[in-house]
């Protein structure tokens, strides 16, 4: 059991000793992460360390080779499709690119999960959708198609869709990637206000250190398939480990090498 689990009691999401490999490449080798209810937890790490894979494991889209992943006390890898779908109705997920359904308007995108899972009269549904769009500041864009939205707007619509079923947990996959500073600020504010107003447990996967530091209650740094550091953002800033220092300062070379493993450069150049 990791430090977090010991401190926080019963976690909402508990990932214990997870091993996961794609082919022969090990992505996780003994990963431990626990998410406390009502918190904003950040999962950070260099690109390619499997942060998004971790979210997909939590959602049951992938199954680990070994280890335990429990969400709301249920062992996710052991769930049948119907049980998994019931679990997913309690969780919202924001995709890196928004993943809006391109054939539907903004309004219909937000209404989609409700139409699929609840039989609400159309006037009630309309009020609900407009309320969620108002929360992300895009009520005026309800009639637009996804192709007419900017990246930041698409991310906000996707956020409205993710919260329309009032989930208990929200998983954010790289919510700040490719956004301008204003859009980043908007998304940051929304994550924070949703967490406080709706008491949603938030899990953020990101490598944007300043943004994460400003809102996260607890942070995990993953590298080499394991958690290499954890604690509050302040704890990580003061961490003396080389890999943590490199990640926080953004140094191009260090324990995480700049160059992909290769033969000696000069030897290769001289080879015919």
């Amino acid at each position: 059991m990791n430090k977090r689990a010991e401190e926080a009691g019963e976690p909402l999401i508990d990932v214990r000793d997870v091993h996961y490999a794609i082919g022969t490449r090990a992505v996780f080798s003994g990963l431990n992460v626990s998410i406390a209810p009502g918190s904003i937890t950040a999962i950070m790490g260099p690109s390619g360390t499997g942060k998004t894979t971790l979210l997909r494991l939590m959602m049951g889209q992938m199954r680990p080779q070994s280890g335990h992943i429990s969400v709301f006390g249920q062992q996710v890898p052991a769930l049948e499709r119907t049980e998994l779908y019931a679990l997913r109705q309690r969780i919202g997920m924001l995709f890196q690119n928004g993943a809006l359904l391109t054939g539907m308007s903004v309004f219909d995108n937000v209404a989609f999960p409700v139409r699929e899972h609840a039989r609400l009269p159309e006037p009630v549904l309309r009020e609900l959708v407009l309320m969620k769009l108002q929360a992300v500041g895009l009520r005026g864009a309800a009639g637009l198609m996804p192709s007419e939205l900017s990246g930041g707007m698409a991310r906000r619509v996707a956020l409205a869709r993710a919260i329309v079923m009032d989930p208990e947990v929200l998983l954010y996959d790289e919510p700040f990637v490719g956004l301008d500073p204003i859009s980043k600020g908007v998304i940051l504010r929304l994550i924070q206000s949703l967490n406080r107003a709706m008491n949603i447990t938030s899990v953020l996967v990101s490598h944007d250190v300043p943004e994460i530091s400003s809102i996260a209650d607890y942070t995990y740094l993953i590298a080499g398939g394991k958690v290499v550091a954890e604690g509050s953002p302040k704890d990580l800033e003061q961490d003396g480990t080389a890999v943590v220092k490199q990640f926080i300062s953004g140094a191009p070379d260090g324990p995480v090498p700049f160059h992909y493993p290769a033969a000696d450069y000069f030897t290769q150049l001289l080879q015919r």
Partner: protein, 254 residues
């Protein structure tokens, strides 16, 4: 090719056939819930059927006219020009209309289906549905499969009608066969079993083309190249299967 490579190739094909069969069963299981959503289904019949109308009607017209010319030339050698309607009708209804409609459908609607579903996968839309606890096979695949399946016999019927009109244009208008002779011989020679043969073929081809398209799209690699390859495979696989099944069905009906 070595024995091992041939063995692996054969095993791969058997595994793929098993995967396609499992996928078909999954689609069929989800087709009943899809039938309860008439709007989704109507949209897909429109996409696969109505949007293929122009190409089907134009092709039907010219195929009918060519059939009229060739059949007239052949029948004239035996002094049986008046049987042009019968020859054209039987050729079209039993053979040409179902096969050509299916080939055109695979090229027009099949590719559109495969690339649409493939792109939905590449842009995480299918994964997003999964995460929202909505089965993409139920919401995306089943309505498209059913849409194609329903559209194919309708398009074949339209191909039949336009094709016969084309033959009639050549035979009656150009070659001066009396219209009464043309139509009366046609009506008396075409039996219900001929229409049934064409209908069964069109349904089988509808299942084949739609299944190949949705399968290739659903399992396309999530890259631009992957979607392109899936689209190409849809046309090639559908065309080969249509011609192969056509032979088997024709042999069964004769």
């Amino acid at each position: 090719m070595s024995v091992d490579a041939a063995d692996i190739g054969l095993r791969g094909r058997v595994i793929k056939l098993g995967a396609v069969t499992r996928f078909l069963l999954r689609v069929l299981r989800q087709s009943l819930p899809a039938l309860r959503r008439p709007r989704l289904l109507v949209d897909q019949i429109y996409n696969a059927g109505a949007r293929s109308l122009v190409i089907i009607m134009l092709s039907g017209l010219f195929v009918g006219m060519v059939l009229g010319l060739q059949a007239y030339d052949l029948l004239a050698r035996f002094g049986s020009e008046s049987a042009l309607g019968v020859a054209a009708a039987l050729g079209l209804i039993r053979e040409l209309a179902p096969v050509l409609t299916a080939l055109l459908f695979a090229g027009r609607a099949g590719t559109a289906l495969a690339s649409e579903i493939g792109l939905m996968g590449a842009t995480d839309q299918l994964t997003a549905m999964e995460m929202m606890a909505v089965d993409p096979v139920r919401y995306v695949v089943a309505p498209r499969f059913l849409g194609g399946l329903i559209a194919m016999p309708l398009l074949t019927g339209i191909f039949d009608c336009v094709g016969l009109y084309g033959t009639q244009l050549v035979g009656v208008t150009m070659m001066r066969i009396p219209p009464g002779t043309f139509w009366s011989q046609l009506v008396s020679a075409v039996a219900v079993r001929d229409i049934r043969e064409g209908f069964i073929k069109s349904v089988v081809f509808g299942v084949t083309c739609s299944l190949v398209a949705v399968y290739e799209g659903y399992y396309a690699e999530h890259t631009a190249e992957g979607v392109g390859l899936a689209t190409t495979r849809t046309v090639v696989t559908s065309a080969v299967l249509i011609l192969m099944l056509d032979y088997i069905l024709t042999a069964m009906f004769l």
